[in-house]
């Protein structure tokens, strides 16, 4: 250990003669570890974020949306607005498919909301059943939830999201107050717990929830719902249940074999698949960039080591004369080259770490530290140093004391 430290100290003295070159040589390793750590941390962050979003949306959730994307001609996509899902569909799913745990049909539309002189032009108003909170993981922070009775009697009551509450009431407690939704006065019976943004980035705290029947009769005057949330009994039940729902709805909607569905069933894997794909691409590109950086770094270190070996011919000759074996010389120079690369790598790891913190902050991702990413980055920097040192240290063993000592 003492020997290693002494050798390293001597090496550092020699490196001091090539400060700029050494710095440039380590730059490649720096960027290599930098990108590995950034990519590693970010993909872990994204995986965690996706997991959180899915849990946030609801456990074992299947979403049935009315209508589907139809194309009229090759380049004119058009989203059908057909509202053909009914409460009957929801009841049929709940009653005939045993893999169903809970069903929450829901309608929504944006309405102006007023309290006193404060008018909010378009707030999403959701008609929901008592099961909605359970299925979609919405919790109430204060007040009471919407009950069966509220729904059956079409009571004009509302649950208010945190953001909407702040806009209308500021610091005041909204529970018990009355607001005007569109032209219907509704009493606020509860405030929702904070939920944050959904997968698409919409603020889920800026909306109102009223009983579904109130919504259908008093607001939109129709029997159709926009969406049916179905909670499966388990994660494994999701895929078969999807198929059962599709089959059931095709029968109920009298869709013939050759016709397309007039509804769409999605589960959350699809929702997050695109994001994962994008991140996968970034990861691959990041790793390619890292590999290229390590290659450049190794070449840089190779050239600096050749310089160093030439500069220290006398030192090598003397070391050989006082009894160092070839393998001692090889070990010494391999340690030096890996020391150079690992120092660059350490700085790159630290910078990459800070960078991934910054990116996570900007994107509002959870901060994760990829232990594997750090380990791989460290190993790669050490390896590139060792590989770069092989040829120069072999050259060093070719230096013989006899060549160094004066020839007379």
């Amino acid at each position: 250990m003492k020997r290693t430290l002494l050798n390293l100290k001597i090496a550092l003295g020699s490196l001091g003669n090539f400060k700029l070159r050494t710095a440039l040589a380590t730059l490649g390793v720096f960027f290599g570890t930098f990108s590995l750590v950034v990519v590693g941390n970010l993909s872990d962050s994204l995986a965690l974020k996706t997991e959180q979003e899915i849990a946030n949306l609801g456990n074992n959730l299947i979403i049935v949306v009315s209508g589907q994307v139809r194309r009229h001609g090759p380049n004119t996509p058009l989203i059908s607005r057909a509202t053909n899902l009914t409460l009957g569909d929801a009841e049929a799913i709940a009653n005939t498919l045993p893999a169903t745990s809970r069903v929450a049909p829901s309608g929504f539309r944006a309405f102006p909301v007023r309290r006193g002189n404060t008018v909010l032009k378009a707030i999403a108003v959701n008609g929901v059943t008592p099961d909605f909170g359970e299925v979609r993981n919405f919790e109430i922070a204060a007040g009471s939830p919407i009950t069966e009775e509220d729904d059956r009697l079409q009571r004009k009551v509302a649950l208010i999201g945190r953001t909407t509450a702040e806009k209308l009431f500021g610091e005041e407690n909204p529970v018990g107050k009355t607001i005007l939704i569109w032209r219907v006065p509704c009493q606020i019976i509860g405030v929702m717990a904070e939920k944050g943004a959904d997968v698409a980035g919409n603020d889920q705290d800026n909306q109102l929830f009223i009983p579904l029947k109130t919504f259908l009769r008093n607001f939109v005057n129709q029997e159709n719902v926009n969406i049916i949330y179905v909670q499966a009994v388990s994660a494994e039940a999701i895929d078969p249940l999807r198929g059962e729902i599709e089959a059931l709805l095709r029968v109920r909607h009298k869709i013939r074999k050759e016709m397309k569905d007039d509804f769409t069933v999605v589960d959350l894997k699809e929702v997050t698949a695109l994001k994962s794909q994008a991140m996968g691409l970034i990861s691959v590109l990041g790793r390619i960039a890292a590999a290229a950086s390590f290659l450049i770094g190794a070449l840089g270190i190779l050239s600096i080591m050749i310089l160093i070996v030439n500069e220290r011919r006398v030192e090598i000759g003397i070391r050989r004369a006082v009894g160092s074996r070839k393998r001692d010389i090889i070990l010494q120079f391999l340690m030096e080259s890996s020391f150079i690369s690992v120092s660059g790598g350490m700085i790159g790891m630290a910078a990459g770490f800070l960078m991934s913190l910054a990116i996570a902050k900007v994107l509002d991702y959870p901060v994760t530290i990829s232990g594997l990413g750090l380990l791989v980055a460290f190993a790669a920097s050490a390896l590139s140093g060792i590989v770069a040192g092989i040829y120069p240290s072999f050259k060093a063993t070719q230096i013989h004391p006899v060549d160094i000592i004066r020839e007379i």
Binding site: L6, K9, I10, I318, A321, G323, V402, I404, I405, I408
Partner: protein, 227 residues
């Protein structure tokens, strides 16, 4: 008592392209423990080649060379390293201290390559530096020392592993005559303490310090005399 060095009909041939040049043409030589010998010769006489062979930096083309009873011919490179490390201390004309290491670290250099780690190496190195009066400068870089001081540090380095043989190649070549005398005195002192000392030189005044002078010319020993 077996001699420290024993050479029998040692020859050394160098290849230069197609030509083979025989530099040493049959050397018979014995150096016993405790000797203070000078190898004298002019430029091109073969004295440096002889020194390289004695110091196990090179191996003979033919003949026998026993160092401390061990046959050197046929030894592998690594074995020669180990042999040098344990038995020989080198002193060079150009001192050859490592510029990026301190005086103390330079003296410690041979201990880095010992087969068995030395206990109290640092204390021994400091003690050697005290002996030559440079203890106060052990944390200096060599370039802050005078030539004579650097050569004294180099002698400490040569003594560090306590070898039987001190091999000095023109140790005073870079020094003025007063400093040269000091260095020769130091070598004589080491000889009095039991070290075998061999000095290679072309300078008769330096050779005169030795107790035995071996003259070499055109690759053969031409004359031996007591100094």
């Amino acid at each position: 008592m077996t001699p420290l060095c024993r050479m029998e009909d040692v020859r050394k041939t160098f290849r230069m392209g197609d030509d083979a040049v025989e530099v040493l043409k049959g050397i018979d030589l014995e150096i016993v423990h405790g000797e203070f010998a000078a190898i004298m010769g002019t430029s091109g006489s073969g004295k440096s080649t002889l020194m390289n062979l004695i110091g196990c930096l090179d191996v003979p083309t033919s003949g026998r060379y026993l160092l401390a009873g061990r046959e050197v011919l046929g030894l592998k490179d690594d074995d020669l390293s180990v042999l040098r490390n344990a038995h020989i201390g080198f002193v060079f004309q150009n001192f050859y201290l490592l510029p990026y290491a301190t005086v103390l670290e330079n003296v410690l250099l041979p201990t880095l390559y010992r087969e068995n780690a030395m206990d109290g190496a640092r204390e021994r190195a400091v003690e050697l530096l005290r002996l030559i009066g440079l203890e106060a400068r052990m944390r200096f870089r060599p370039n802050r020392l005078s030539g004579g001081e650097q050569q004294r540090v180099a002698i400490c380095r040569a003594l560090m592993n306590d070898p039987e043989l001190l091999l000095a190649d023109e140790p005073t070549g870079q020094l003025d005559s007063k400093t040269a005398a000091e260095i020769m005195n130091l070598l004589a002192k080491m000889n009095e303490r039991g070290k075998t000392v061999i000095v290679v030189t072309h300078d008769p005044a330096i050779a005169a310090c030795a107790k035995r002078i071996i003259r070499i010319k055109d690759g053969v020993i031409v004359d031996e005399q007591a100094g």
